[in-house]
C-alpha cells in the first residue's frame, strides 16, 4: 500500500517562499480544504484558514508543509529529504500573555491573537471582598503543557473511490463522528459517503480526536492517485510536535476572600489559555472548565475572566482531564496557599470548605448539578490508608534533620457525559446541545445475541461491560453475548456525539446498550407469548438445555433464541400481521436529559455525572540533588455504583500514572525561538516502571441519581496527582519561602527555586491582607 510521508517545518513560524518538490510528488489539492468550522469556532477565530498542509506560512515547528506518497515509508522519507524549503523566519510568539499584546499577529485574517474572551461571574464578588476577614493575593500560577501520548501513534488509511466519491477510512481517530462532520464539509463529500472504521486502538486519552487534518490529506492523496488506498503512520516525533498537546494555562491576579474561619467566600482571577497555533477543538476548552467551576468547594461568589490565545506552538486537543484539570489544579493551589497563609492545616482547610455530603444533589453557582459525593469520607479513608498521623509524626522528626518532606492532598472531579449546549456559551451560533449515544441489540438469524455500540474503546472494557448489561437484562451469561465494538458508520449505531472521550461510556454508552437490550426483550416477550400461547407476564428468561430461552411458567413450555430468531428472519409466514413490526433488531438512542444553557448568564447544567478522586502523596525533595521522590501514595475513588471493579481500579491506576508523569517528568518544552526540545520519548521521558510508585487504592460508592445504574463516568481521573504532588512539594518547601507556582516540577525547577532563588519566591507571588 502506498505510504504517506510528510515534510514538516523545521523552524518555528517559518514562511516557505520556495518549494521544490524535485522528484517527489507532493499532494496539492486544488480545493485546499480549510478545516476551520463556523459550527465549532466563533468569530473571530472562525475566520482562520486552517489548511491540512501549510500554504504560505507555517505557524509552529512540525507543521506539515508537504506530503509525499511512496511505496514504502523509507522511500517517502528519502523523497521528503529532497524537498527544499527556504524559510523566512518571523518573530515567534510563545507565551499566551505576550500573544494577547497583538504585537505580532499569527493569523492575519483574524486580526488578533485573541481566540475568545468571556467573564464568568456569579454571586456578589465585590461585597464578599469588602466583608472578608482575609484576602489572599496570588500573582501568578501556571499549568504546563503536556500530552498523555498514547503508545500507538496516529494511523490513517484512506481510500477515495473515484467512481462514486465514497471515502473509506480505517483509522484510530477516537471521536470519528466529530471528524466526519469536519471532513464532509471541507472535502465537499456527502457525509453518508464517508465510512469510518476503527478497530482496537492503542490508547488515545483524547489526543486522537484532532487528527482530522491528516485524515483529509490521506483522502486527497488517494483521490490524486486515482483511488489507491493511502496509509499514513505517524512517527513519534511527528506525534510530539504536531498532533496535539494539552492546554497550557496561566492564572493571573488571583484574589481570594475568606472569612475568619478560613472558609473561602469569593475568588476573582484572570485565566489565560494557550491553544497553540490553531484552534481545532477550541475554543470549547474556554467553557469546558466551568463544568467544575467551584471544584469540590462551597464558595458561591466568583469572577473568572477567561481568555484564550494562539501561539506558535503545536495546537492543543482534548487530553485526559481536558480543560477541567487546569482549573481544578488552580483551585487546589488556591486552597493550599490560603491555608498556609492563614495558618490552617491542609486537611482541616478542606473539611471547612468542601461541599458537604447532605448537600447533594448540589447546584453550583453556574448551574451545574453535582449528582452525588462524599468528600469528607474520602479524605478520612485516604488518611487512614496513608497512615496520616504516622507520616505527620515522621515528617516532623525528619524535618528536624533538615530533610524536605511534604504531605499533600489533592481533591478533584471527573465530570462526565457533557452537555454540548455549553458550546453555545463560547459560540452562540453553534448547532450543538445535549448528548446522545446509540446502540443496537439483536438476535441474529441463528439466535446469537449481538450488541453494537458507537464507541471506539482503547482498553476501557466496553466489550466486557456492555455484555454484562445485556446479560443482566436477558438473565443469561455474558459469555453468550457478542459485542461488536470499534466504530463503524455503517453499523448505523452512531449519533453525532459517538466516540470515546469525556468520561461517559458507563453512562451514555451503557444507557444506550441497556435501552436497546430492553427493547429487544420487549419484542422477544411479545413473540414468545404468541408462540407459547400464554401471557407476557407468565414468561421467564433463563437458560435451558438448548441454550438461552423464554419459558412459560404455567405450562413449562419454552422456546430458545434460535426458535425466536427463526420465526422472524426465515419463517415469517407463521407470524400474524399484528406481530410483523417485531424485528428482534433493536436500535436505541439514549439522550441525556439536558437543556440548552443560558448563554448570557453562562448558566446551566453542563455535565451529567461527577466522579470524584482524593489522593494523598508523601514526597521528599533530596537536599543535594533536588530530585523529588514519592515515598507513599494513596488514591481513593468514587464513581458511583461500580459496574466492574477491576476496570475501575485499572482506570484509576492509569490516570494516576498520567498525573504523576505530568507532575514530575512530562513537559512539552520549547526554547526561546520555538524549537520543541522534547520531540522524542527520550527527551519527553514518559513515566516508567522505575519511577511509578506503588499506589494504594481505596474507594467509596455514592450512587448517581442521574444514571440508570447509579454509575458515573470516571476514565479521565481529574488529574488528581498533579494537584496532589504540587501540594506535597508545597508542604515540603513552604518553610523555604517557596510557592509552587507551576504544575510541572523536577530537580531543575526545584533547585532554581530553593537555591537559585530565581522562581517560586513566596514574597513576590503571594500577599496576605489580614483584616481581623
Amino acid at each position: 500500500m502506498p505510504m504517506l510521508g510528510s515534510s514538516a517545518s523545521t523552524l518555528p513560524r517559518p514562511k516557505p517562499c520556495l518549494e521544490s518538490y524535485a522528484r517527489s510528488q507532493a499532494v496539492k489539492s486544488n480545493r485546499r480544504p480549510n478545516l476551520s468550522s463556523k459550527s465549532a469556532q466563533s468569530p473571530p477565530c472562525s475566520k482562520i484558514r486552517d489548511y491540512p498542509l501549510a500554504i504560505s506560512t507555517a505557524l509552529y515547528q512540525g507543521e506539515p508543509v508537504a506530503a509525499i506518497v511512496a511505496e514504502s515509508p523509507s522511500l517517502a522519507e528519502d523523497a521528503a529529504e529532497l524537498i527544499q524549503v527556504e524559510y523566512e523566519s518571523l518573530e515567534p510568539v510563545l507565551d499566551a500573555e505576550q500573544a494577547l499584546e497583538d504585537k505580532s499577529i499569527l493569523h492575519q485574517e483574524m486580526g488578533t491573537n485573541k481566540v475568545w474572551n468571556g467573564v464568568f461571574e456569579y454571586g456578589d464578588v465585590d461585597k464578599s471582598f469588602q466583608e472578608a476577614a482575609y484576602v489572599v493575593h496570588i500573582d501568578r500560577l501556571h499549568f504546563h503543557r503536556f500530552s498523555s501520548t498514547p503508545l500507538e501513534n496516529n494511523v490513517v488509511i484512506a481510500e477515495w473511490n473515484p467512481k462514486d466519491d465514497h471515502i473509506y477510512y480505517s483509522c484510530n481517530n477516537s471521536f470519528p463522528s466529530f471528524a466526519i462532520q469536519f471532513l464532509a464539509a471541507h472535502l465537499t463529500v456527502h457525509i453518508d459517503r464517508i465510512r469510518v472504521q476503527t478497530a482496537d486502538i492503542g490508547g488515545s486519552f483524547g489526543i486522537k480526536i484532532t487528527n482530522y487534518p491528516q485524515m483529509a490529506v490521506c483522502a486527497l492523496a488517494s483521490k490524486k492517485s486515482g483511488g489507491r488506498p493511502i496509509k499514513w503512520v505517524e512517527t513519534r516525533s511527528e506525534h510530539m510536535t504536531s498532533s496535539a498537546h494539552g492546554n497550557e494555562r496561566t492564572f493571573r491576579d488571583t484574589r481570594v476572600a475568606l472569612d475568619k474561619d478560613g472558609v473561602i467566600t469569593a475568588i476573582a482571577s484572570r485565566h489565560i489559555d494557550d491553544c497553540g497555533a490553531y484552534p481545532r477543538y477550541e475554543p470549547l476548552g474556554c467553557v469546558i472548565w466551568s463544568q467544575v467551576f467551584p471544584g469540590v468547594y462551597q464558595f458561591k461568589n466568583a469572577r473568572i475572566d477567561f481568555t484564550q490565545a494562539v501561539t506558535n506552538k503545536c495546537p492543543v486537543g482534548p487530553n485526559r482531564g481536558y480543560s477541567r484539570m487546569q482549573h481544578l489544579w488552580f483551585l487546589e493551589r488556591v486552597v493550599d496557599i490560603c491555608a498556609h497563609e492563614i495558618g490552617i492545616p491542609a486537611d482541616e482547610m478542606r473539611l471547612r470548605n468542601y461541599i458537604q455530603p447532605e448537600e447533594f444533589p448540589y447546584t453550583t453557582p453556574n448551574g451545574c448539578v453535582y449528582d452525588s459525593g462524599n468528600y469528607p469520607k474520602m479524605l478520612e479513608i485516604a488518611k487512614q490508608l496513608i497512615g496520616w498521623d504516622g507520616w505527620k509524626k515522621k515528617q516532623a522528626e525528619l524535618r528536624k534533620e533538615g530533610r524536605l518532606i511534604g504531605i499533600g492532598i489533592g481533591t478533584t472531579l471527573d465530570s462526565g457525559t457533557n452537555n454540548f449546549g455549553q458550546s453555545q456559551i463560547v459560540n452562540p451560533g453553534a448547532p450543538f446541545s445535549g448528548n446522545s449515544q446509540g446502540a443496537n441489540c439483536k438476535l441474529d438469524i441463528y439466535g446469537e445475541v449481538v450488541v453494537a455500540v458507537g464507541s471506539c474503546p482503547q482498553g476501557q472494557g466496553h466489550e466486557t461491560t456492555a455484555a454484562q448489561v445485556v446479560a443482566d437484562v436477558l438473565s443469561i451469561s455474558p459469555d453468550l453475548i457478542s459485542v461488536r465494538t470499534g466504530f463503524d458508520t455503517e453499523r448505523n449505531v452512531h449519533t453525532g456525539f459517538s466516540g470515546t472521550y469525556a468520561s461517559q461510556f458507563a453512562v451514555s454508552g451503557l444507557s444506550a446498550v441497556h435501552g436497546a437490550a430492553q427493547k429487544l426483550k420487549t419484542e422477544m416477550k411479545r413473540l414468545a407469548a404468541f408462540v407459547l400461547e400464554t401471557k407476557e407476564d407468565d414468561l421467564e428468561f433463563s437458560t435451558g438445555a438448548q441454550g438461552p430461552e423464554v419459558r412459560a411458567n404455567s405450562t413449562g413450555k419454552s422456546i430458545n433464541y434460535w426458535g425466536l430468531a427463526n420465526i422472524v428472519n426465515v419463517n415469517s409466514a407463521v407470524l400474524p400481521p399484528e406481530l410483523h413490526e417485531i424485528t428482534l433488531n433493536c436500535r436505541y438512542i439514549w439522550r441525556a436529559p439536558f437543556k440548552v444553557p443560558d448563554k448570557q448568564k453562562k448558566y446551566g447544567n453542563l455535565t451529567l455525572t461527577y466522579a470524584s478522586q482524593l489522593h494523598i502523596a508523601v514526597v521528599e525533595v533530596d537536599r543535594e540533588t533536588f530530585i523529588p521522590k514519592i515515598l507513599d501514595y494513596v488514591a481513593v475513588d468514587d464513581c458511583g455504583t461500580v459496574i466492574n471493579p477491576p476496570i475501575v481500579e485499572g482506570q484509576v491506576y492509569g490516570a494516576t500514572a498520567h498525573g504523576i508523569g505530568a507532575a514530575l517528568l512530562e513537559n512539552c518544552v520549547y526554547d526561546a525561538v520555538g524549537n520543541m526540545l522534547t520531540s522524542t520519548f527520550s527527551d519527553y521521558t514518559p513515566i516508567t516502571a522505575l519511577n511509578m510508585p506503588t499506589v494504594r487504592y481505596g474507594h467509596i460508592e455514592t450512587p448517581s441519581p442521574h444514571s440508570y445504574s447509579g454509575a458515573k463516568g470516571m476514565g479521565e481521573g481529574g488529574a488528581a496527582p498533579i494537584h496532589t504532588i504540587s501540594a506535597a512539594l508545597q508542604d515540603a518547601l513552604f518553610s523555604n519561602g517557596i510557592i509552587i507556582e507551576d504544575s510541572f516540577n523536577n530537580a531543575d525547577t526545584l533547585f532554581r527555586a530553593v537555591v537559585g532563588r530565581e522562581i517560586y519566591q513566596a514574597d513576590k507571588l503571594v500577599k496576605l491582607d489580614r483584616r481581623v
Binding site: 523509507s74 490508547g203 482498553g459 491506576y653 492509569g654 500514572a657 514518559p686
Partner: protein, 162 residues
C-alpha cells in the same frame, strides 16, 4: 538517493521457523518482522529505543527491534509474541497478564511479555525491584504498571519449576 537499492540476503530463525530473506541494509529488524514477515504483533511506539513496544527475543535476549538492523539478525534466533503460544494455548505469562488485568489497550503488551519472558528465564522468583528493573524499558501508558507488577508476580508463580 542511489538509483538502485542494494539488498542483502540474510537467514534467520523466527519463532522456530527458518527464513531466508533479502533486505535493504537500512531495514530495521522491526520493519522486517512487521512488513516482511507479517508478524504485526511487534509494535513501534517511539522509534528511539525508549518505549519497548518493539521488544523481541534475539538469541534469548530481550532487544528493541526498532534499533537493530535486520542484517544484524543474520543467523540469529528470534522470538516474537506470536511465538509464545504453546500448542495453540496461551503461554503462562500471557495468561497471567489476562488474569491480572495487566493490559488495557494492549499496544505495549507484546514487548512486556517478552521482557517478562527474559526475566523469568534467568530469575524464577524476582522481587519487586527486579521486576521493575526488568521492564524499565517498556513504557505502558494505560495501566500505571500496578497490574503489570501483579501479572509478573503471578507469572513467576505459575511458571515456577518449568
Amino acid at each position: 538517493m542511489p538509483e538502485t537499492i542494494e539488498r542483502v540476503p540474510i537467514k534467520l530463525k523466527v519463532n522456530g521457523k527458518s527464513r531466508a530473506v533479502s533486505v535493504e541494509p537500512r531495514t530495521l529488524l522491526v520493519e522486517l518482522l512487521r512488513e516482511g514477515l507479517d508478524l504485526t504483533g511487534t509494535h513501534v511506539g517511539c522509534d528511539t529505543t525508549y518505549c519497548g513496544a518493539c521488544t523481541v527475543l534475539m538469541n534469548g535476549a530481550a532487544v528493541k527491534s526498532c534499533t537493530i538492523y535486520a542484517v544484524q539478525a543474520d543467523d540469529a534466533e528470534i522470538v516474537t509474541v506470536e511465538g509464545l503460544e504453546i500448542d495453540g494455548q496461551l503461554h503462562p505469562i500471557q495468561k497471567a497478564f489476562g488474569e491480572s488485568y495487566g493490559l488495557q489497550c494492549g499496544y505495549c503488551t507484546p514487548g512486556l511479555l517478552l521482557s517478562t519472558y527474559q526475566l523469568l528465564s534467568s530469575n524464577k522468583q524476582p522481587n519487586d525491584k527486579e521486576i521493575r528493573k526488568a521492564i524499565a524499558g517498556n513504557t505502558c501508558r494505560c495501566t500505571g504498571y500496578q497490574n503489570i507488577f501483579k501479572a509478573i508476580r503471578l507469572a513467576a508463580q505459575n511458571t515456577k519449576g518449568t
